[in-house]
């Protein structure tokens, strides 16, 4: 468990980082918190020829509210996002979900950008970004590019990010009047979810009038499920739609049928809680 040989660059400005990344091509990998990349390199599952360490690039971890949009920099650590008052006020879904992400030591290093760029199917934050209708802002030497979260996650560890691009930040639109809900099922506290569900719902007069959701741990990547969201709004049994819609993953410890079952359990729990809160 030692990484294969790699070159290492530690830029201090974004411009420099993007230049190195562009020259490195497919063989280069940004290094953020290293909580996923380093173990993958140690197992030689990942073998980038060049590591571009982002930890000395200033300004990538800012958390700010601008024009009603919450911006969270890619290098913001999980622990910082979890504790930030602006996040608690503007996107309370995130702290709720982040409590389920790994353990304190890992949250001290792991970053929002790393989690989104990695796109582990079981990771909580990608599902949250889908439910929050966030925009992922990418940068390359050629400029910035904005991708809606729902289009960013494309499959198992696959995203819309090109190899010469860095995640810069996410932008989360204001959601006044929306209620967040997040829960997951894991064998042990802090594990990646067997199934998790992030929901944002707008409720008036005791009913859900608008909803966005994203599952994690269930399918290869989180995605919006319009038919399920419509069923939630219509007050129908949304969970019963899931078997026809979802393509659950299977593994030795969590067969596909079990993940589907858990997705239904979570959706029922969410529906009940949101109605109670409405």
């Amino acid at each position: 468990m030692t990484p294969a040989r790699f070159a290492y660059a530690r830029p201090t400005t974004l411009e420099e980082a993007l230049g190195i990344l562009a020259r490195g091509g497919e063989e280069a990998a940004p290094l953020a918190g290293g909580q996923s990349l380093m173990p993958m390199m140690a197992m030689r599952v990942a073998r980038p020829a060049l590591l571009v360490d982002l930890n000395r690039v200033a300004g990538l971890d800012a958390i700010a509210l601008e024009g009603g949009v919450l911006r969270i920099g890619a290098m913001a650590r999980h622990a910082a996002v979890l504790a930030h008052p602006l996040v608690a006020a503007e996107a309370p879904l995130l702290p709720r979900a982040l409590e389920e992400v790994a353990h304190p030591a890992i949250r001290n290093r792991g970053t929002l950008g790393g989690s989104l760029a990695l796109a582990d199917p079981a990771a909580e934050l990608p599902a949250c970004m889908v439910a929050l209708d966030a925009t992922i802002v990418l940068a390359s030497a050629g400029g910035e590019r904005r991708v809606p979260a729902a289009d960013f996650f494309q499959g198992l560890y696959a995203t819309a990010r090109r190899s010469d691009e860095l995640l810069l930040r996410v932008e989360i639109p204001r959601a006044a009047g929306w209620t967040p809900w997040f829960a997951e099922v894991a064998r042990r506290r802090g594990d990646y979810a067997l199934a998790g569900l992030a929901v944002m719902a707008r409720c008036t007069a005791g009913r859900i009038v608008e909803a966005r959701l994203g599952f994690c741990g269930v399918e290869a990547a989180p995605r919006r499920l319009p038919a399920v969201e419509a069923a939630l709004v219509a007050g129908e049994d949304a969970a019963s739609r899931l078997p026809a819609l979802l393509e659950p993953l299977g593994s030795a410890e969590a067969p596909a049928g079990y993940r589907l079952h858990l997705a239904q359990v979570l959706l029922r729990r969410a529906t009940e809680a949101l109605h109670a809160a409405a």
């Binding site: 030692t2 064998r187 030795a252 410890e253 049928g257």
Partner: protein
């Protein structure tokens, strides 16, 4: 009289050192000029292979790439044999597989390089051609007619089998008023010590001496095997086990890896280091407890157990582990069946089968958790069938102390146990009426709560006959050498080894009482064959029961020597003197001289000693228990669990354990062992599994993200109580304590989960670990 050190709850200084990061584990030692080793391991469960190492050898920093034939020049193969298992089929093994790998993870080549990273690069650069052969992984598949042979050419995959029992089981079952039956499946798991295995071997060509640092539980045993395999005089081999970060039985076997490291050092004349990484550990450490047990129990109309009849299908892996043989685990299962209870008839058929998997072997509590789970599941089932309280059914059938010594039909000897005292202590500890009211209230509110019980009997502190009868070179006798320092302290060397369990503190307390000094004045060392005397090391919960006797004997012998010397100096009869708190006193307790004065005289001013006084500063005691093949300990565990009926997840809310390990040397040590053991038992019950793909035979639990260890949040409060019935056949009276937590926790949790399921109108679960899918199926909530 001064307060006894034995039984005192003393914190141990070593724990402070280890917790503060002061441990010196294998990887903290380095030799000048050492090479780092990395193994190329078979990626397939069964394959023929051809290797081309030419390219790998040319990488900068690579010193050598060795294959089977290279090491064959310096290392003989070995084969597991035991007269206790006549006819055992377990082929010869060499440090590296030659031409055919029999399990996924088996080492086939070894790279020696300047760094581990370079060695891994070179391992990747070996051109290996793998021709996949049919593999057997599931134990049920091994004996199916036409099953592919695990070792081509052998007629059967049955490595060993036997029928064990006594009485007349057929008649007992025919006459029974009630027969309960269950098929229980136990999935492989493994020990996962915090420090992985490793070896650092140095060959000294001038003297032809080999020094090997190991992370291992039994340095003397390994010294012998290293000498035998490498063809060296045993006194030219030194094994050093410094701080060892846990063993759990994982580190009591001879592995190909460590042998290859020693052989490579001998061959290349350079120090060689290898430390297993976590992925290698999960793949290539022994696994344990793969059993499919079909068992039935006969009960008469009064609710008395008549007998047991069972079949145990045990998965051994590709070889029966060297030197102890994996089949020992099946014997341990059988001995544990029905052990706390009175029954007259038993039959156990055992089939131990070969598989294309890493070997299974002795892991904490060996087969006892399996036998306990089978028994306690059947007992619960019988009580329920009779409409009876499960505790009442148990109480009726528990052996009484007056009936002992008692040998049950499986040949298991029971002596000196008071199950009823354990039962009464447990009732007080648990407050059953209050707990039952709480469960009823919870159930009324819709919660799926369950309470499970398990009585345990575990055979510890194995005596010389256990392996000796099989002519297996495993020492069950132990030695302590105690020395008076000229400054009055006592130093000792023990053949028992310290692997983090704290036994050297326990031995220090015994020595303190035996000599008559404060326990703080005693230091016990262990683990270096150049310093420590011969003996067995750490296994079978033997440190206190066997090592404690050796310490007592050495301490008393030293005390007698010192009193003889003091008597001569003081012109007093030795038996008119005493040693208290490090001071030689007269019978009334008046100080005559300190041990420091005595030691100084004996060592530095020998000319002042009276003529003819011979005793020295050191005394040795070699303890060999002559009676009682093993010392059975006993206890009761109870678990309160809650099931999430929608997700199938189980939480242990509370856990209780009452144990009798005889004389408690230090309650802090015993409580730590009990709690840690229970934690491992919780893992076994709910989380830990070495899984293999049903079709490809590929190992699926290769990282700690896949192999689920219990974490702090999975362990509830564990309430403990002790019953202390000292072993009557020894001076100190300790029995084993290290494994009993693991012995009973799986059974208690299995019964608790089934209690909750049945109360909710569901079926039962019969497979460990208890998977949430199985729970949901039992509840009829998942197809």
């Amino acid at each position: 009289m001064t307060a006894s050190a034995i039984g005192r709850a003393m914190p141990r200084p070593e724990a402070r050192r280890l917790v503060a990061g002061g441990g010196r584990y294998l990887d903290d030692h380095a030799e000048r000029g050492e090479l780092q080793a990395c193994f190329l391991r078979s990626p397939l469960p069964h394959a023929r292979f051809a290797l081309d190492v030419a390219a790998a050898k040319t990488l900068p920093g690579v010193e050598a790439v060795l294959t089977a034939s290279d090491l064959a020049a310096v290392c003989r193969p070995w084969r597991t044999e035991s007269r206790s298992f006549p006819g055992l089929v377990s082929p010869r093994q060499a440090p590296l597989a030659e031409g055919r790998a029999t399990w996924q993870g088996e080492p086939v080549a070894m790279v020696l390089a300047a760094t581990r990273a370079i060695a891994e690069d070179a391992a990747e650069a070996i051109l290996a051609e793998w021709e996949e052969l049919p593999a057997v992984t599931a134990p049920e598949a091994a004996l199916v007619p036409g099953a592919p042979p695990v070792h081509p050419g052998s007629e059967t995959n049955r490595a060993w089998g036997a029928t064990i029992g006594g009485g007349d089981p057929d008649a007992a079952f025919a006459a029974a008023a009630l027969v309960v039956e269950e098929r229980l499946v136990f999935t492989r798991h493994t020990g996962v010590p915090l420090e992985p295995r490793g070896a650092l071997a140095t060959w000294e060509p001038g003297t032809g001496a080999l020094t090997v640092r190991l992370s291992h539980q039994m340095p003397h045993q390994m010294r012998l095997h290293l000498a035998e395999q490498l063809g060296l005089p045993v006194n030219r081999v030194r094994v050093i086990c410094s701080d060892v970060g846990g063993g759990f039985g994982i580190k009591m076997h001879v592995y190909q890896d460590e042998m290859a490291v020693a052989a490579a050092a001998r061959l290349l004349g350079r120090p060689v280091r290898w430390v297993s990484d976590r992925m290698e550990a999960l793949l290539a450490d022994i696994h344990a407890r793969e059993h499919v047990v079909t068992a039935r129990m006969a009960v008469d109309a009064e609710g008395r157990i008549l007998g047991f009849d069972l079949h145990d299908l045990q998965g051994l892996g590709a070889y029966s582990v060297y030197p102890r043989s994996s089949t020992v685990e099946a014997i341990s299962v059988v001995r544990s069946i029905g052990a706390p209870y009175r029954f007259a008839h038993g039959r156990a058929r055992v089939d131990s089968v070969l598989q294309n998997k890493v070997a299974t072997g002795q892991y904490r509590a060996v087969g006892a958790p399996v036998g306990c789970a089978v028994t306690e599941r059947l007992v619960d089932k019988a009580a329920r069938a009779r409409g009876e309280d499960p505790l009442a059914f148990r109480a009726r059938n528990l052996l009484r102390t007056a009936e002992m010594p008692w040998v049950n039909p499986f040949g298991a000897a029971q002596h000196g146990m008071d199950h009823h005292a354990v039962l009464e202590t447990a009732k007080a500890l648990i407050d059953l009426p209050a707990l039952q009211a709480e469960i009823e209230a919870g159930r009324a509110a819709g919660r799926l709560l369950g309470l499970g019980l398990a009585f345990t009997v575990e055979y510890t502190a194995s005596g010389p006959a256990v392996y000796g009868a099989g002519h297996v070179a495993v020492a069950a006798t132990d030695t302590v050498v105690a020395t008076l320092e000229p400054t009055g302290e006592i130093s000792a060397q023990a053949s028992i080894t310290e692997i983090g369990q704290g036994i050297t503190q326990g031995l220090a307390q015994v020595l303190a009482d035996a000599v008559g000094v404060a326990p703080e004045a005693v230091r016990v060392g262990a683990g270096d064959t150049q310093a420590a005397p011969h003996g067995g090391g750490a296994w079978a919960s033997r440190g206190a029961a066997i090592g404690g006797e050796a310490a007592w004997g050495a301490g008393r012998a030293l005390r007698a020597q010192l009193l003889e010397a003091a008597g001569a100096l003081l012109q007093a009869a030795p038996d008119s003197l005493d040693i208290r708190e490090g001071v030689v006193t007269d019978a009334a307790g008046a100080a005559r001289m300190t041990l420091a004065e005595l030691g100084t005289l004996m060592l530095f001013r020998g000319h002042e000693m009276p003529k003819g006084v011979t005793p020295g500063l050191s005394a040795t005691f070699h303890y060999r228990r002559e009676q009682d093949v093993t010392l059975a300990n006993n206890g009761l565990q109870a678990a309160l669990v809650e099931i999430d009926g929608e997700t199938g997840l189980v939480r242990v809310l509370r856990h209780w354990m009452v144990g009798d390990c005889g004389r408690v040397l230090n309650p802090l040590l015993v409580d730590g062992q009990y709690r840690g053991g229970v934690a491992q038992g919780i893992g076994e019950a709910l989380l830990e599994a070495c899984r293999y793909d049903a079709e490809s035979g590929q190992f699926l639990s290769g990282t700690l993200a896949d192999y689920l260890l219990p974490m702090a949040t999975d362990i509830p409060d564990i309430a403990l109580a002790h019953v202390e019935v000292p072993y009557a056949g020894s001076a100190v009276g300790a029995k084993g304590a290290g494994e009993s937590g693991t012995c009973g926790a799986p059974a208690a949790i299995l019964n608790a989960v089934n209690d909750a399921l049945l109360a909710a109108g569901g079926g039962v679960v019969t497979e460990l670990p208890i998977h949430p899918v199985a729970v949901l199926r039992a509840l009829g909530r998942l197809a």
